[in-house]
C-alpha cells in the first residue's frame, strides 16, 4: 500500500487556498484573462461559427487554439462566463501543482523531493506572475498538462507498453488544443531532453555506473529504442496537425504580416529596467541565487540534455540584453514571439532541481555539510534567508499590480452595455478609449461591434496591421504612431461605420473634438460618450471569410473530445493514484533515485561566491538608481526632476525644487499652477527632455530646456529657460514670474443662443419617424482648389453655412486623374471649423493621408516623424477633385466668443493675443491662418494650436512663424464637382445666395506681405474641456 504524499497534499491545500482565493482579486486586472473571456463568450453564443464580427470589423477565432475558451464557454452555461473563467483557472492551479509533482518525481525518482518541488511550485514567482499578472490561462493549462505527459512519455519509451503511448498521446492532444506555442517549444525544450534522459537511463541499465556510459553504449540504446521514439514523435506530430488543423489552415491563409508590436521581453533589460524586472528578475526570483547549483546538476550525465535545454532557454529569455536570442531565432521569430515564455519554461524546468536543493538543505547532506563547516546557526540563517526570499518574492509579485496598476480602474460596464442596446446604437460600431484590457469584457457583454480588438494577431485592417500598436484603445502609450493610427479612424469614421466613442481618458478628448466629434452625454459611470454625425449604419450584410463545414466541426468538437478521451484513458490511473485502492506499478523512473550522501564542497564555495557577486551587482544597481534619481546634486538633475514632477502633476514635489529664497510659498505656487489649463498642462505627456546648461558657475547656471511633449493633437516642442541657483550644496530653480493681469469685471453677464434637438419625439421601437428628422442644413462651398505643396496634394477652400440653423460640417474630398480614375479619398481633419453658426464661414484644407508604412517590408523609421503625417503615394498625377459636403444640425460646441487682439505683424513672426469675451473657458484655442494672393484668392491654409488655454475675460498671447509659400502649385480650381448634402453646389448657390456680395470676405482680409502671398486671415476656434 502506498502512502499518501503529505507534502503534495500540503502543496495542493496551500496552493488552492492561496491562488484559488486570490484570483478573484487579480485575474480580472491581468493582461490576458479578459481576452480569453471574450473568446469564451464567442463560443458560448455561436459554438460552431468561428467568425466573430465584433472585433476588427470581423475576425476568425480560429486564430487561437480553442480548448480553454470552449471550456469556459461550456462552464458558462452553468454559472456564467466569470464562473467558467475562475473554474478553469482553479483547474489550472491544481493541474500545475500536480504536474510539477509528477515532473519532479520523474526527474529525481524521489517522492520526497517531488513533494518539495510541488510546494516550491506553489510559491514560484514565475507561476504567480503568469497567473496573477499576465493571466495566461491557456499557457498555464498547456504547460501543466505537458508536465503531466512527461512521465507517460518516459514510461512509453522505456517500457514500450502501448498503454503509456495512449496516455502520453492523449495528454499531448489536450496540450495542443489549449495552446499552440507550448507544445511546439515544449517538444524541443522538454521532450527532446526527456528522450535523451530515457536513453541515458537505458544505457545505465546496461552497465554498472552512470560514469561509465560511453557514446557507444548510448548509440546502441538509441537504436534499440528508436522505433518507440519515432512512434511517439510521429503520433504527436499527427495530433499536432490534426487537432488544430483549422488553426494551421488559417495561419497559412492569413499569415501574420504585420509590423511587430514592441514587447518588453525583447528589450535590453539593462537599459529598460522595468522590463528587466518584469521579464527577468521576477520570474527567476530566488532561483537566481542557486543558478550554479542548477547548472551543476543539469550538466551531470543523466540530465545532460536537460542542461543543454535549460541553458538555451535561459539565454533566449534574456531578450534584447544580448544579441544571441536575435541571432538564434532570426528576425521574424524574434519579433513575433514574446521571449518571456522562455524564461517561464526555464524556471519551471529548474523547479525539481530547486526542490532537490531545498530537500538537501532542509534534511539532506547539504544540511550536514553546512552545519559541520559553518555551524548550525549559519544553516538556520541560510534557511531563513531562503524562505524569507521566497516569501518576499511572492508578496512583491502579488502586490505589483496593486502599486503599479497595469489597468485602469475597474469600469462598471452596465451603463455602456445599456447605451449600446438602446435606440439602435448597436447598428454602428463603437470604440472604447482608455479601457485597457477591460475592453474585451465590454465586447463580451454586447453584440455591438468595434473596429478595435484585443487579439492583435487577428487584426485585418491595414490601418492597424501596419502600425506597431496593440489596440487603438491605448494608442497614447504608443506615442506618435499610436495617435496617428487612431487619427485615421477618427477622421474617416464612416469608412468603418464608427459612430460612438466611449472615452475613459480625457487625454483623447481634444483629438476627438478637432476631428469633428461631439460630446453626447456622460454615462453614470463617468464615461463620456462622443458621437460623430453623418455616419451611415453598418450594412445588414457584412463580409466574412467562411471556412468549410468540416473545419468548423473539427474546430468545435475536437478540443473537448481530446479532454474527454484523455479523461477516459487516464481516469483509471488517476483514480488508483488518488484513492490508493490498488497498488500501482511504480514508474520505472523511480529506479533512478540518487542517494544524497556527500555535498560537493567546491559547489558550496562557488555558490557562495555567486550569491555574493549577485548581491553586489544588486547593490550597485540600487546605488546607481539612487544617483540618477538624486534630484538636486547637479543643475541638470534638478531640471529633469522638476519637469518630471510637473509631468506627473506632483506640484508639491515640483515646488520643492524652487529657490526657497524666492518667497513663493507652496500655497501660492499651487494657486498659480492650478489656474493654468490647456493642451500642455492638461493633455500632454512629456516625451523627451534635453537640458543645455549655459553660464554655469559655482553657484549659478542658466538652463535651456528643450522639451518634447506628446499631445493628442501633435507633438509640441517647447523651449524653456530657467535660472538655477545653488544653496547649501543643492541646486534650485528660480521661479518664473506669472501674469499679473486682472480681468476687468468681477461679475459679467452674457447671452447666448443655445439649441436643442429632441431627436425622436415619439417613443417607439421603430425607426425614427420622418417628421422627427430635421432637414440637413444647407452649406455652400465658396471656393475649392487642388494644390500641391511641398510635394503633397491638398484641397483647400472655403465654405459657409447658408442655412438658418447651426451646422456640423463633414467634408470629404476625392482626387481623380485625367481619366477620372479615383486616386484617393480623405476627410477634413484639423484645418476647418467643424461647427458653423448660420452664415459663418470657414476655410478648410484636406490632406490626403496614406496608411503609414503600408508595405510591411518598409523599414520603420527609427525616430518617429513629429508631424506623424504620411502623405499618400500617388502613382498618377491627380488633376481633378470632387468634394462631398454634408451638414447636420449641431447643438453643441458653438462657442464663438474668442476675440483676436494685439495683433502685430513682423516679417519673422506674427504675435497677438486672444481675449475670451464669453463665459466658457477655452481649453485649447486654435488659429486657422489662411493665405491669399494679390487678388485676394485663397492659396493656402495652416493651423496653430495655442499651448495654453484662454480663461474668461483674460488674454492668452500667441506667436507663430508665417509660412513661406515658395513651393506651391495650383493644379485645379473649380466648383464643378462640389456637392452639398448630395446636391450640386451650384444650385444651392443660386437658390440660397443669389446675390452674394463677394467684397465682404475680401474686406476682412489682413494685408501682410509674406513669401508668396499678400494677405492673411486669422480665424479662431477652440475646444472647451469643461463646458458649463
Amino acid at each position: 500500500m502506498q502512502k499518501t504524499n503529505v507534502l503534495l497534499i500540503l502543496a495542493l491545500f496551500i496552493g488552492v487556498a492561496f491562488h484559488g482565493s486570490s484570483i478573484f482579486f487579480t485575474l480580472e486586472t491581468t493582461y490576458d484573462a479578459l481576452i480569453h473571456l471574450f473568446f469564451a463568450d464567442h463560443y458560448a453564443n455561436s459554438w460552431f461559427e468561428p467568425w466573430d464580427y465584433r472585433w476588427y470589423t470581423g475576425f476568425t477565432v480560429q486564430a487561437y487554439p480553442p480548448l480553454v475558451h470552449q471550456g469556459i464557454a461550456a462552464l458558462s452555461y452553468i454559472g456564467g462566463l466569470k464562473f467558467g473563467m475562475f473554474t478553469v483557472a482553479m483547474i489550472g492551479i491544481i493541474l500545475f501543482i500536480t504536474g510539477t509533482y509528477r515532473y519532479g518525481l520523474l526527474m529525481t525518482g524521489s517522492r520526497k523531493i517531488a513533494g518539495y518541488t510541488s510546494i516550491l511550485a506553489v510559491f514560484s514567482s514565475t507561476f504567480i506572475e503568469t497567473l496573477h499578472i499576465f493571466g495566461q490561462l491557456p499557457s498555464i493549462l498547456a504547460l501543466s498538462i505537458l508536465l503531466h505527459s512527461l512521465p507517460e512519455i518516459y514510461s512509453w519509451i522505456k517500457t514500450g507498453k502501448l498503454r503509456y503511448l495512449a496516455t502520453s498521446l492523449s495528454l499531448i492532444a489536450v496540450t495542443v488544443t489549449s495552446h499552440h506555442v507550448t507544445p511546439i517549444f515544449g517538444m524541443v525544450f522538454f521532450i527532446f531532453p526527456l528522450i535523451g534522459m530515457v536513453l541515458m537511463d537505458a544505457s545505465r541499465d546496461q552497465i554498472p555506473s552512470t560514469k561509465s556510459i560511453t557514446f557507444k553504449v548510448f548509440i546502441v540504446q538509441f537504436k534499440k529504442l528508436f522505433w518507440r521514439i519515432v512512434g511517439f514523435g510521429f503520433g504527436s506530430l499527427m495530433l499536432f496537425i490534426f487537432c488544430i488543423l483549422p488553426y494551421w489552415i488559417n495561419s497559412k491563409k492569413n499569415p501574420i504580416t504585420q509590423v511587430p508590436i514592441p514587447h518588453g521581453s525583447r528589450d535590453n533589460f539593462l537599459e529598460v529596467t522595468s522590463s528587466g524586472l518584469v521579464f527577468f528578475l521576477i520570474p527567476w526570483g530566488i532561483l537566481l541565487f542557486i543558478l550554479p547549483y542548477i547548472f551543476y546538476r543539469y550538466f551531470s550525465k543523466r540530465y545532460l540534455f536537460f542542461g543543454l535545454s535549460f541553458t538555451v532557454l535561459t539565454i533566449l529569455g534574456t531578450g534584447g540584453t544580448t544579441p544571441i536570442p536575435l541571432a538564434v531565432l532570426g528576425e521574424t521569430a524574434f519579433n513575433i514571439l514574446t521571449l518571456d515564455r522562455f524564461t517561464l519554461w526555464a524556471t519551471i524546468m529548474a523547479l525539481p532541481i530547486f526542490g532537490e536543493f531545498v530537500y538537501r538543505l532542509v534534511e539532506g547532506d547539504l544540511k550536514e555539510h553546512i552545519q559541520q563547516r559553518f555551524g548550525a546557526v549559519y544553516h538556520r540563517i541560510i534557511g531563513g534567508l531562503l524562505a524569507g526570499g521566497i516569501l518576499a518574492m511572492v508578496i512583491f509579485t502579488m502586490s505589483l499590480n496593486y502599486f503599479r496598476p497595469s489597468q485602469p480602474q475597474k469600469i462598471n460596464m452596465l451603463p455602456i452595455v445599456n447605451f449600446l442596446s438602446q435606440d439602435m446604437h448597436d447598428h454602428w460600431r463603437y470604440l472604447p478609449l482608455g479601457f485597457g484590457d477591460q475592453m474585451a469584457w465590454l465586447s463580451a457583454q454586447t453584440k455591438a461591434m468595434t473596429v478595435d480588438g484585443n487579439y492583435h494577431s487577428a487584426r485585418r485592417l491595414p490601418e492597424l496591421t501596419t502600425r506597431p500598436i496593440e489596440r487603438l484603445e491605448n494608442s497614447k502609450f504608443r506615442g506618435v504612431q499610436g495617435i496617428g493610427s487612431l487619427q485615421q479612424f477618427l477622421t474617416v469614421p464612416e469608412k468603418y461605420n464608427l459612430k460612438y466613442i466611449f472615452s475613459n481618458d480625457k487625454f483623447y478628448d481634444p483629438l476627438l473634438y478637432f476631428c469633428g466629434w461631439q460630446r453626447l452625454q456622460q454615462l453614470e459611470n463617468g464615461i463620456m460618450v462622443w458621437e460623430k454625425l453623418n455616419v451611415p449604419p453598418i450594412p445588414a450584410i457584412i463580409e466574412k471569410e467562411d471556412v468549410s463545414t468540416t473545419l468548423k466541426i473539427m474546430w468545435s468538437v475536437i478540443p473537448l473530445l481530446t479532454v474527454i478521451l484523455a479523461f477516459i484513458i487516464n481516469i483509471q490511473l488517476v483514480w488508483y493514484r488518488i484513492l490508493k485502492s490498488r497498488p500501482l506499478p511504480q514508474g520505472v523512473f523511480m529506479n533512478y533515485e540518487i542517494k544524497y550522501t556527500k555535498f560537493s564542497k567546491g559547489l558550496v564555495n562557488i555558490n557562495h561566491i555567486w550569491a555574493l557577486l549577485l548581491l553586489m551587482v544588486l547593490g550597485f544597481g540600487v546605488y546607481q538608481f539612487y544617483l540618477t534619481n538624486a534630484t538636486q546634486i547637479a543643475p541638470k538633475n534638478v531640471i529633469v526632476s522638476y519637469y518630471d514632477a510637473l509631468d506627473f502633476k506632483e506640484f508639491k514635489r515640483a515646488h520643492s525644487y524652487l529657490d526657497p529664497d524666492s518667497g513663493v510659498d507652496i500655497s501660492q505656487y499651487m494657486l498659480e499652477v492650478s489656474v493654468t489649463d490647456g493642451i500642455l498642462s492638461s493633455y500632454a505627456k512629456l516625451d523627451s527632455i534635453g537640458v543645455e546648461i549655459v553660464d554655469e558657475t559655482q553657484t549659478s547656471a542658466r538652463a535651456k530646456v528643450f522639451t518634447q511633449w506628446v499631445t493628442p493633437l501633435e507633438k509640441i516642442d517647447k523651449l524653456y529657460e530657467h535660472d538655477l541657483l545653488k544653496h547649501n550644496g543643492k541646486w534650485y530653480i528660480a521661479p518664473s514670474t506669472f501674469d499679473n493681469d486682472l480681468p476687468p469685471d468681477q461679475l459679467i453677464s452674457s447671452n447666448t443662443t443655445a439649441f436643442f434637438n429632441h431627436g425622436r419625439r415619439r417613443i417607439t421601437t421603430q425607426q425614427t419617424n420622418h417628421e422627427d428628422v430635421l432637414k440637413q442644413p444647407v452649406l455652400e462651398i465658396l471656393t475649392a482648389k487642388l494644390v500641391k505643396h511641398n510635394g503633397s496634394y491638398s484641397i483647400i477652400g472655403e465654405l459657409q453655412n447658408v442655412d438658418n440653423v447651426p451646422s456640423d460640417v463633414v467634408i470629404k474630398a476625392s482626387l481623380y486623374n485625367d481619366n477620372n480614375v479615383e486616386l484617393a479619398t480623405y476627410n477634413g481633419k484639423y484645418q476647418l471649423k467643424h461647427k458653423l453658426m448660420p452664415k459663418e464661414t470657414t476655410t478648410f484644407r484636406i490632406d490626403f493621408e496614406g496608411i503609414a508604412w503600408s508595405s510591411t517590408k518598409d523599414t520603420l523609421p527609427p525616430t518617429f516623424d513629429p508631424d506623424q503625417f504620411t502623405p499618400m503615394n500617388f502613382k498618377e498625377q491627380p488633376t481633378r477633385f470632387n468634394i462631398q459636403c454634408a451638414g447636420n444640425v449641431a447643438n453643441t460646441d458653438l462657442y464663438k466668443e474668442i476675440t483676436l487682439q494685439d495683433l502685430e505683424l513682423n516679417t519673422e513672426q506674427i504675435t497677438g493675443s486672444l481675449y475670451n469675451a464669453g463665459i466658457q473657458e477655452v481649453t485649447i484655442p486654435q488659429l486657422l491662418i489662411s493665405y491669399y494672393n494679390t487678388n485676394k484668392e485663397l492659396i493656402w491654409l495652416d493651423h496653430h494650436f495655442l499651448t495654453e488655454g484662454v480663461r474668461i475675460q483674460r488674454k492668452q498671447y500667441f506667436d507663430f512663424k508665417p509660412k513661406e509659400l515658395n513651393d506651391l502649385e495650383l493644379i485645379n480650381s473649380s466648383l464643378e464637382n462640389c456637392f452639398v448634402n448630395g446636391l450640386p453646389n451650384k444650385s444651392i448657390s443660386e437658390k440660397a445666395f443669389p446675390d452674394r456680395e463677394h467684397e465682404h470676405a475680401k474686406e476682412q482680409l489682413q494685408p501682410y506681405s509674406g513669401v508668396g502671398y499678400e494677405f492673411i486671415k486669422i480665424e479662431t476656434n477652440g475646444y472647451i474641456g469643461n463646458p458649463r
Binding site: K775, E997, Q1004
Partner: protein, 424 residues
C-alpha cells in the same frame, strides 16, 4: 489469431454491404417503373371554358371564377397582380371547377390576370380589374418637405397627399383632395386632384417668417397636422453702435459692439444664432476681429481696450449678405509716462509710477518689456514682466550679466525709453 478474426469480420461486412446494394437497386427500379406508368395512364384531355364573370370589381368584393367541362384534377389557376403571383387549386362541383379568389388578391386594386393550366398547358386566359373602394372609409398618408424653408418667393415646401381606401389602395386618379394650410391669421384651402396615386401641392413661402401648418382632407377624412418652418431670408445692411465705460486705452475695460436689429429684406428678424463678424481696423492698419451671434436680431461682440492711444474703424459683416456702416472709435492714451529707477549697481531696474488717466495706479497686468543690448548694439536678452501696483522690477544678476556697459530699452503701453547702464 486475431488477424484471422479480423479477416472474417471484414468479409462478413462486405457481404452485408452487398446485400444492401441489392435492396437499393430493387427500390430504384421500382420507383422508375412506377413513374413511367403513372405518366402514361393519366392523360385526360378536357377543354374547360370560363363562365361569365365580373370584369370590373371593387376592392374587397368576393370574386369567383367558374369553369365548365373541367375534369382534370391537376388543373390550376395562376393569378398575377401587381403584388405577385398565386397558384390556386380548384374545388370541384359536377364537372365544374370553382376558384375562390383569396382576399389578399381581391383587396388589392389593379389589374389581375388569370391563367388556367392543365399539365403545364394553358387552357384558358383572362383578366379582371379591381378598383379602389372608397366606401369603407378613406385614410390619408401625407408628407411635407422640406421641413423648413426660407422666406423668399422662390422657396416652397411640397405637400404630398396619398389617400387610400380601407385596404391601403391609393384612390383612383381624379379623386378630389383638399390641401389646407395655415400661416399667421390666414387659412387657405386648395383643391388638388389625384393623379398617379397621389396629389400634391407646392406651398410657397410667405414673406414673413413663421410656421406653416398643413393638413389634407379627402372624402371626409382628415390627415394629421404637418409643419414647415419659414425662416427669415438673408440679412440686409444694418448699423452698429458701441458701449464702453470710458475712452482711455488702459487695456482693462471691455468695449461692447452691438448691431441694431438685423432684418431681412421683408423686415423679418434674422434667425437666432446668425454669426456677425466685427472687424476693427486700428491706425496701424491691423484688423482685430471678434464675432457675435444674434439673439432677437442683435449681435454683440466684446473687445478689451488697447494699451495705447489709437483709433478703431469698426465694421460688421454677415459675410456675403450684409454689412454695417463703419463707425469710428477713438481711444485716448491712459498711460502717459513712467520712471526707470536703477539701483544696486544698475543690476536692479525698476519701472515705476505707471499711472493711468486720473494719475491712479494702473490696474495690474500691463505688459512691460525690457530689451538689453551690449555696447556694440547686439541683442543680449528680452525680459518680459507685467505690472503689479504700477511697477515692475528686473534683476540682472552678476552670474548671468558680466560687468560692462549695456543699453536697455523699455516699452510700456507703447511708450519706449532707451537708456545706457553700466553693470559692475
Amino acid at each position: 489469431m486475431s488477424l484471422l478474426k479480423l479477416k472474417r469480420t471484414v468479409i462478413s461486412e462486405i457481404q452485408d454491404n452487398l446485400k444492401n446494394y441489392g435492396y437499393i437497386l430493387v427500390l430504384f427500379v421500382l420507383i422508375v417503373g412506377c413513374k413511367k406508368e403513372m405518366d402514361s395512364s393519366q392523360i385526360i384531355t378536357s377543354n374547360p371554358t370560363v363562365l361569365p364573370f365580373k370584369k370590373l370589381n371593387v376592392a374587397g368584393d368576393p370574386i369567383q371564377l367558374k369553369f365548365k367541362d373541367a375534369t382534370n384534377e391537376l388543373a390550376a389557376l395562376i393569378i398575377e397582380n401587381s403584388l405577385g403571383t398565386t397558384v390556386l387549386k380548384a374545388t370541384k362541383e359536377e364537372n365544374m371547377f370553382i376558384f375562390d379568389i383569396p382576399k389578399h388578391i381581391t383587396q388589392k386594386a389593379g389589374l389581375c390576370h388569370w391563367t388556367l393550366t392543365e399539365n403545364a398547358q394553358i387552357k384558358a386566359k383572362g383578366s379582371f380589374n379591381i378598383l379602389p373602394n372608397p366606401n369603407n372609409g378613406t385614410y390619408i398618408e401625407s408628407y411635407l418637405g422640406p421641413r423648413s424653408i426660407t422666406a423668399v418667393p422662390s422657396d416652397f415646401s411640397m405637400h404630398v397627399i396619398a389617400p387610400t381606401d380601407a385596404y391601403d389602395n391609393p384612390l383612383s386618379d381624379g379623386t378630389k383632395i383638399t390641401s389646407t394650410y395655415q400661416f399667421k391669421n390666414n387659412i387657405s384651402s386648395n383643391s388638388v386632384t389625384m393623379k398617379n396615386l397621389m396629389g400634391w401641392k407646392n406651398i410657397y413661402a410667405p414673406q414673413q417668417a413663421g410656421r406653416i401648418l398643413v393638413t389634407a382632407n379627402c372624402n371626409g377624412s382628415n390627415s394629421k397636422e404637418l409643419t414647415s418652418i419659414v425662416y427669415p431670408g438673408n440679412a440686409v445692411d444694418f448699423n452698429i453702435t458701441y458701449a464702453r465705460n470710458h475712452d482711455y486705452a488702459d487695456g482693462n475695460q471691455t468695449i461692447t459692439f452691438s448691431s441694431d436689429i438685423i432684418k431681412d429684406v421683408y423686415s423679418n428678424i434674422v434667425s437666432d444664432g446668425t454669426l456677425v463678424n466685427f472687424v476693427a481696423t486700428n491706425t496701424k492698419n491691423i484688423r482685430l476681429t471678434a464675432s457675435g451671434t444674434t439673439l432677437n436680431g442683435i449681435a454683440k461682440a466684446r473687445f478689451i481696450h488697447p494699451y495705447e492711444a489709437t483709433e478703431w474703424k469698426v465694421k460688421a459683416y454677415v459675410t456675403g449678405a450684409a454689412q454695417s456702416k463703419p463707425i469710428s472709435v477713438p481711444f485716448k492714451a491712459a498711460i502717459k509716462g513712467y520712471q526707470i529707477t536703477l539701483a544696486n549697481d544698475h543690476r536692479l531696474i525698476a519701472i515705476e509710477n505707471i499711472q493711468s488717466f486720473m494719475d491712479q495706479i494702473v490696474p495690474d497686468g500691463v505688459p512691460i518689456s525690457l530689451t538689453i543690448y551690449d555696447q556694440q548694439g547686439e541683442f543680449v536678452a528680452l525680459l518680459k514682466e507685467t505690472s503689479r501696483l504700477g511697477e515692475a522690477t528686473f534683476e540682472l544678476p552678476i552670474e548671468f550679466y558680466d560687468a560692462g556697459k549695456y543699453t536697455i530699452e523699455t516699452v510700456v503701453a507703447g511708450i519706449s525709453k532707451k537708456q545706457d547702464i553700466v553693470l559692475k
